[in-house]
Symmetry: C2
């Protein structure tokens, strides 16, 4: 029976419980039946029944030493004074370590403890011993490792390398393991194209199915990727039926919303039953939970972050359950949130955050909230759930973050908050190249934001290029003012050229800031607090231009590359940014100023191993220096030099 729910707003816990109740009532919320596979190929699989030893290991008594097997009763009475002779071949049989004990023999005397004596007959030989053997001495008895019938592995155990060894030793060349759940993923959309296609405007590269498939693999399942299906109800229905025969669950991505070309819910409803359409979460609201002819069918939203979240929420529990594994909560970490987060009450939000351990505290910094920003998932270390009833979270609050990376990885991350520069990408890369365990995480909040983060103990370092117009000096007066009393080292990274970026050939014929007030030039600005924003304001002030007269002054980007991209793509005609960003995107560059870009590092962090390595790279690594020089617009003559120390 199809329930008629049209983008409902069911709370997540209700949706989950309704979903699991449905699956349970249909009898599918339980482990899949087992399949016999070769034990040697069972690594990582899950046992579908208890494995008890068929045979003992070892399955015969064997010598644990190089020496002579004897019957211990025949050694009674031997002593230093009263040495005892045993005839070899009859009373004493030579054995190497591991050799089976001859029948009837029940002790071993080490080779070091016997004298070998030649007898009178041609083949006669004896051993002479000086102490009696105790029963079963130096014998590895049957079952020393595994006794037949003993439990080797319980049901529902994930098989490790040592488990494979024990099962083979216990006589199991085959093992009954849970079938891998087969999950068929159908990418849909008329505009969707395969990666590597010749791209034309309007095409969307299909990669969600690969992300979802990767998750299925990580969860122990077997992903099957269906061909791309255009936005057509009948074709989609046929695809669902074809996929139905191929796997245990069908996943349709996307078309799960309620737009004119969203057929997923309709197709599921026509073929079976919509359990729920629409869950009160953000991102991920337009999910479809369906049931078609005895199998679950998920309609997953198209935005990659929505897809990741909803698939994890609604598919993972079932994929685990099918393998006999528990539905486990994600690992969490308590952290302090670095800035205020407003949230619209009424929807449970999954906020992506970066995490860093700075000093004793773990700091969570929100990244972009756009559901379409795949890189936000690449960069995020975890999710922070903001309850539906909440209006937001105050800066400095303690929050619990569900982890996407390991705690160890998070502890090995250098947190750099402040101004953006393209060389930070290079630093992140070279650090991981030299020291794979360490990562550099940089958040771009402008120079002032960086210094404030240092003040609050939320970053290991801050990139800063703040010009004191009175002294003409960079950064130092700001550190004195805002970080007084904090021991800080100021180290130069680069001098760099800032300028106005314009499209190749400068079609607008822009000569400098003086052209920005003319009204026909669209500018793109940086966010307030950015050093580059201060430079813009200084230039305008010197020219007597009122910012209100600059078209686009209010349009803010957070990075140099953001500005360059806006100019390249026609969103703006010009913007102030560094030469490297112009070079990267092939833009023309009108020089405005050369400025100093430093890193401010509290001294308390200097003896941390990863910070030491980081500084060494800045000071000594030739590959890094050359790559920076290649970017263009950089002067590295003072790279690594201490500019100031407080």
């Amino acid at each position: 029976m199809s329930r008629d729910i049209y983008l409902a707003s069911v709370p997540l816990y209700e949706a989950l419980s309704e979903w699991l109740k449905k699956l349970d009532s249909e009898g599918v919320l339980r482990p899949l039946s087992g399949e016999k596979i070769e034990t040697i190929g069972s690594l990582g699989r899950v046992t579908a029944e208890a494995v008890s030893a068929k045979i003992s290991s070892p399955f015969y008594h064997s010598s644990a030493m190089d020496g002579y097997a004897v019957r211990f009763a025949e050694t009674f009475g031997a002593s230093e004074r009263n040495q005892k002779r045993l005839k070899t071949g009859e009373q004493a049989v030579y054995v190497d370590t591991g050799d089976p004990m001859p029948d009837g023999f029940n002790a071993v005397i080490m080779i070091e403890d016997v004298n070998i004596i030649r007898g009178t007959g041609s083949d006669d030989q004896y051993i002479e011993i000086i102490s009696p053997a105790t029963p079963w001495q130096h014998v590895r008895v049957i079952g020393e490792d595994i006794v037949a019938t003993e439990l080797i592995l319980p049901e529902n155990q994930v098989i490790r390398p040592v488990d494979i060894g024990a099962m083979l030793a216990g006589g199991h060349v085959e093992v009954l393991v849970r079938q891998r759940p087969k999950i068929v993923i159908i990418p849909t959309g008329t505009e969707i194209v395969e990666p590597g296609s010749d791209l034309k405007k309007g095409d969307i590269i299909e990669y969600n199915s690969r992300v979802l498939g990767g998750l299925v693999s990580e969860w122990g399942g077997d992903p099957v990727r269906f061909r791309i299906i255009p936005d057509n109800l009948e074709e989609l229905k046929k695809a669902i039926l074809d996929a139905h025969a191929m796997g245990d669950m069908i996943v349709i991505n996307a078309g799960s919303s309620a737009g004119s070309e969203d057929f997923t819910a309709k197709a599921i409803g026509d073929l079976g039953e919509i359990v729920l359409h629409g869950v009160n979460i953000k991102p991920g609201k337009p999910v479809v939970l369906g049931w078609v002819k005895g199998k679950p069918v998920l309609g997953i939203p198209g935005y990659p972050v929505s897809a990741f979240i909803t698939f994890t929420l609604f598919a993972k529990p079932l994929i685990h359950k099918w393998q006999g594994l528990d539905i486990t909560e994600p690992e969490t970490l308590k952290a302090k949130i670095s800035r205020q987060v407003a949230s619209t009450p009424g929807q449970e939000e999954f906020l992506r955050v970066k995490l860093g351990k700075v000093g004793d505290q773990c700091i969570a910094t929100p990244v972009t909230r756009g559901a379409g920003v795949m890189m936000s998932l690449v960069r995020a270390d975890g999710f922070l759930r903001i309850p539906a009833m909440s209006e937001g979270i105050g800066a400095g609050s303690e929050v619990e973050v569900e982890l996407l990376r390991s705690k160890r990885d998070i502890e090995n991350t250098i947190v750099c908050i402040g101004s953006h520069d393209n060389t930070l990408d290079l630093l992140a890369n070279i650090l991981k190249k030299r020291f794979p365990r360490y990562s550099l995480s940089s958040a771009h909040v402008g120079s002032m934001g960086g210094l404030m983060a240092l003040k609050r103990g939320e970053a290991h370092m801050a990139g800063t290029h703040l010009l004191d117009e009175e002294t003409g000096e960079y950064n130092i007066s700001f550190i004195k003012k805002f970080l007084s009393g904090k021991g800080v080292l100021l180290i130069n990274l680069v001098y760099r050229e800032q300028g106005l970026l314009v499209p190749k050939g400068n079609p607008g014929n822009i000569r400098g800031f003086e052209d920005l007030a003319k009204g026909d030039v669209a500018f793109v600005n940086r966010q307030s607090g950015a050093g580059t924003r201060l430079l813009t304001d200084k230039c305008l002030r010197e020219l007597g231009i009122n910012p209100a007269d600059v078209k686009g002054y209010d349009r803010e980007e957070y990075t140099h590359m953001g500005v360059a991209s806006a100019v390249l793509t026609g969103v703006a005609d010009t913007g102030l940014a560094i030469l490297a960003s112009a070079r990267a995107l092939g833009l023309d560059f009108i020089p405005v100023a050369k400025e100093r870009y430093d890193l401010a590092i509290p001294k308390e962090f200097l003896n941390i191993d990863m910070i030491g390595h980081f500084l060494k790279i800045i000071r000594e690594d030739n590959e890094f220096r050359e790559t920076v020089a290649d970017l263009g617009g950089y002067d590295i003559s003072d790279m690594g030099k201490v500019m100031y120390e407080a």
Copy 2:
């Protein structure tokens, strides 16, 4: 140059440093070169170069809403009073979410915010708007997710599902990843047979290569298993040369010691160079570190525990390094050791321990130290390293344990220390079957040992069957005496039959304990503190037999199955154990007593989730009850009943 070292005793840190120095000086201690593979198949691989976006994502401006694309300049002046009309097709173009923006259009007005007006001409149509559009409103601009040239992944990054998505979005259908190190494993030994062979005395089932291969897979390498090579120097040398062409490292298992049939060191020395033969660790001393024609060759000892330890120590760092991953220390956990461990000074020992979280403390309990006991690795949760200089560790000391299971798994383990009963295996299995996240770990130290463990806070529960001869009652008086002041619940598990086990058909014609003093019957006993040992002593005392007159009274086993195995295999003629153990191994059984076997559980643990589930299984699970009944010799009429409460 071959160095002539014959089973040296080099300390581990020296051996490791010499090994890594050798590899470094030969130029192999660095990442393998990269190979291009399809991005969609790169899950879990490691990037061999930085991945920067080739194209922006999205690569064209697209609408973020369903609505009309407009030129924002043409919307100036629209207001509620002064509505503005735009001609569709010319000034306003309908777009769905995701549609590319028509050329020259730079804002979208949501469908909800327009009125559609039919014009005077046949095809004329207009939209009416009541407020101006801001530049680029509701437009997903180029590069919103990824800006071309932006760093997507650094070098040496393990690729996750989301990384695959970002790489595909950034235009990478292929990615350069580290080659998987190929590790060729050669099993050797004339007595070695494949699992599943018809076994005869003297055969050894080959499983080490499968354990080592599994470890290689877990470490990201690609194991290649060579055929079994007999103990023959020339054949082994030929095998090494064949294997040399097949992989990056050759591993020979075993023949690494200095016995008469140990050819590994000789073969390596003949073909190349022995870097080291013999490391001062236990188990694992006879390891060979070799170098043949530009590739590392490891000679790994044959005992499974020695093989596991030495392979992890000497192969894992290289396999990681070859993939561009750091050599990482194993995760560790601080724990309190539950009993004293003596250690011979002069060798660094790798002690296997079980771990359990009981209350606030983590308890480490040593398991068997035998290098041949594979099950000790299956059961162990971690390794405790005892330094070469140490004579041992006192009970209650804090130690650091290198983990073999996750902390979460350890926290989800019920620690049961005390008397052994076969039903504990069944309980372990049914618990994991019903609740895959939970495990039952049972250590067999006898009933008294169990109560003492409860007293010290080292176990969640203890199995006990201590008869008070004065009262005829089981367990209660002992709990009163040894656990006074501790709130304890005593719950019956089973009544069970104890008796003398004898081989099928009772060839020795044993009728009861009265036959044990006759001198020709070999007895096998249980360890002191075991309830069954007390029962033995009571029986002997009642018959007036002096234990000194019982042959084998000093031979101790720790479990009922150990006693049964000793009788089955002829190590002993008889021993006292439960009927279930006789049934399991097909032995005859001479009944001696029926006794009560209870579980003592401190009340403080009763509200722990896993303990609650455990008790529910004992009280309500029919499958468990039936399986226990099937074992034979059990009376389950009081199963789960509270026998006493303190």
